[in-house]
Amino acid sequence: MVFERKQKRRNLDGVDALDRISQLPEHIIHHILFLMPHKDAARTTVLSKSWKQVWNSLPRYDFTFCDGTYYDNSPAHFEKKIEKFVRSVNEDLLPLREHKTTIQIVQQFRLRMTLCHHKYASRIDNWIKLANRNLMESLYLELTSMNKVGRYVLPKTTFFVESLAELTLKGCKVLGNYFGDDMIKSIYLRKLTLERVDVNYLTITKILRCCPLLEEFTQSNCCVKAKRVHINYAPKLKKAKLYGVKKIKIEAPNLEELYCRGDPGRLDSDSFACNNVKKLKISMFETSKLFEDLNSKFPLLETLDLQFYDSKLKISSDRLKSLSLLCPNKQLPMLQISFSPEELSKDLPIPPIATVEHLELGNVPIMQDYTALLDGLLWSCHPKVLLIRADSESKEFVNFLSETLVIKEEEPKCCGDSHMKCWRHYLKAVKSEPYLDGMEYVKVCHCDALSDSISALEICH
C-alpha cells in the first residue's frame, strides 16, 4: 500500500527530505511498530495522517464470549456445557496466540461465564493475560460463582495494561495487596465500573488515586467492605454513580453528574466537594442539613432529583432548571423551597422569579388543605410544567389543583397594594391533559408572567 508522496526539494547536502518512510509497505511499518514498546508504537498515530492510517490498519479484534448457560439440575451436564464453551473460547483466541510480526489490538474483550469449578479460574487468567499482551482497550467481565466455588480474582497485571481504557467487573474479587502504599505507577483507565464486586473500599480509593484520566466511575452494590465511598483524587471525573452505599465522601472538582442511591445511608455537609455538579440525583439517604444551602454546595446545579426523608427541606438555588421531589414518608413534610433567599425581603422592587421550568412532585401526602403547600411551591418559582405522579393518594391533590388553579378574575384582588404579588397574579392560563408516560402523570403548566408566549397550564392525569 503506497501512501501519497510528498514532493520536496532535494537538499544538496544529500539529506533526503522526501518522506520516504511512507513509501514502505504497510506490513513493514507494522513490523517496526511491533519491535517497539506498545506506548511508543501508539504514539506514532500523532506523527502525521499517513502514520495515523498505519495505526488504524493494524489488525483488530472484538471478542464477546457468553456461556449462555443456565444452571439446570444436572451438574455433570452443566459442566459439559462449560467445557464445550471453554474449548470454543480457546479456538477463537488462536489468532492472538500465534506469533505474528505485527501488533494486534483487542478492542473489546467481553466474557460472561458461570464458574462451576475453581479450575476454570486459571483458564480465565490465561485468556486475560493473552488479551493483556495484545493492547487491550476494553475489558468486561461478568462472572458468577456457584456456591462453594470462590469468586474469580482479577489478575493484578490487568490494571496496569496501559492501553486499557474501560474496565467493567461484575461479581469478581479484587485484592488489596496489588496496590502498596508507595503506589507510583499510573493506571490509564477512563471508565471504571464495579458491580457486586468483593473489594475493600480503601482499595477502590487507592485505585482511583492512580487514575489521572478517569472520567466515569460506577460502584454498584458491592460487598460489605465497600459500603463506604471515599474518593479524594479524581481530577477528570465527570460522571459518578454510587449505588448501594451507606456513606460517601467525594472530592471531584470537575464532576458534572452525580447519582447516589443509599443502602440506606447518611449524607452530611462533608460528603461532597464537587462544585461543578450540574445533575444530581439522590435517593435512600438521610440528607440532614445538606440541602439547606444548596447554592454554596452546588452552585452550578441545574437538575435535582431528590428523595428525602427529613421532615424539613429547604432548598435555595438560582440556577435550578428541573426539580423532582419524592417524599416517601407519610408524615407531612415542611417544604420550604426558596429559590433565592432575598425573595421575601420587602426591600426588593421586583421579586426574582426562579427559572425552574420543570417541577415534578411525587407522593404528595393526603392533607386537609393543600393551600399552604401550593403557596409555598408557587411563591418561589413559576414552573412552566408541573408534573405530579398520579397514584391513589395524589388524586386529592390533583382535584385541589384543578379547582384552585383556575383563572377567576382578570386581576385577583388578594394581594392588595403590596408590590409582592402572589402567584395568582402571574397565572395566565391553565390546561389539563394526560401526560404520556409509562406511569401516570399529572402535568400542570404555569406560565411565566415575563414571557411573551402564553403557555397554557396543563393539568394532565
Binding site: V15, P37, H38, R43, L47, L213
Partner: protein, 148 residues
C-alpha cells in the same frame, strides 16, 4: 536467504552464490540507490564470512554479528536507515531487513513526536485541533515520555 530478488535473476543461470565475483551480468535494480546497495553488499559479505568462520558455534556467530552491527550503526546516518530498509525490502534480503527495522525501532522509541518527525523528515498534516484530539485519545501513550 539473502538478496532473494537477485537470486531469482540468477536462477536461470544456475548460479547460487552472488558473491562469486565471476559474474558480469548486469542486473537492473531501479529502486535501489548505490549507497545503500553498497552497505547491503558489505553486510551480506560480512555475514557470510562470520558464518564461515564460526561454522559450528552459533553463539559465536551471533556475538560477532552483533558487534559488527553495532559498528555499522555508528557509521550509518539515521536518514539512511529508511533507504536501507527500502533497499533490503526490494531485494528481499530478510536478515538485513530485520536488522534495520530493529535499528529504526530502537532509534525512535521513547523519543518525542518532534524528534521522530525530524528523523523521518515528516511534517504534521493534521487540521487544526485534530492533533490535539488524537493526543487526548492516546494520552496513555504520552505519559512519562522523554521529551527531548
Amino acid at each position: 536467504m539473502k538478496f532473494c530478488a537477485v537470486k531469482q535473476y540468477f536462477d536461470d543461470e544456475n548460479n547460487n552464490n552472488i558473491t562469486s565475483g565471476a559474474s558480469t551480468t548486469m542486473i537492473p535494480l531501479p529502486n535501489v540507490e548505490s549507497h545503500p546497495l553498497a552497505i547491503l553488499i558489505t553486510y551480506c559479505k560480512k555475514h557470510l564470512k562470520i558464518k564461515a568462520n564460526n561454522a559450528d558455534n552459533k553463539k559465536e556467530t551471533e556475538k560477532e554479528m552483533e558487534q559488527y552491527e553495532q559498528e555499522l550503526l555508528k557509521k550509518v546516518m539515521p536518514q539512511e536507515l529508511t533507504e536501507l530498509i527500502l533497499a533490503a525490502n526490494y531485494l528481499n534480503f530478510k536478515e538485513a531487513l530485520d536488522f534495520f527495522c530493529r535499528a529504526v525501532a530502537s532509534a525512535i522509541q521513547n523519543k518525542s513526536i518532534e524528534f521522530v518527525r525530524k528523523f523521518f523528515g515528516l511534517e504534521s498534516d493534521f487540521e487544526l485541533g485534530e492533533e490535539e484530539k488524537l493526543r487526548e485519545e492516546f494520552a496513555w501513550s504520552f505519559e512519562g515520555v522523554d521529551e527531548d
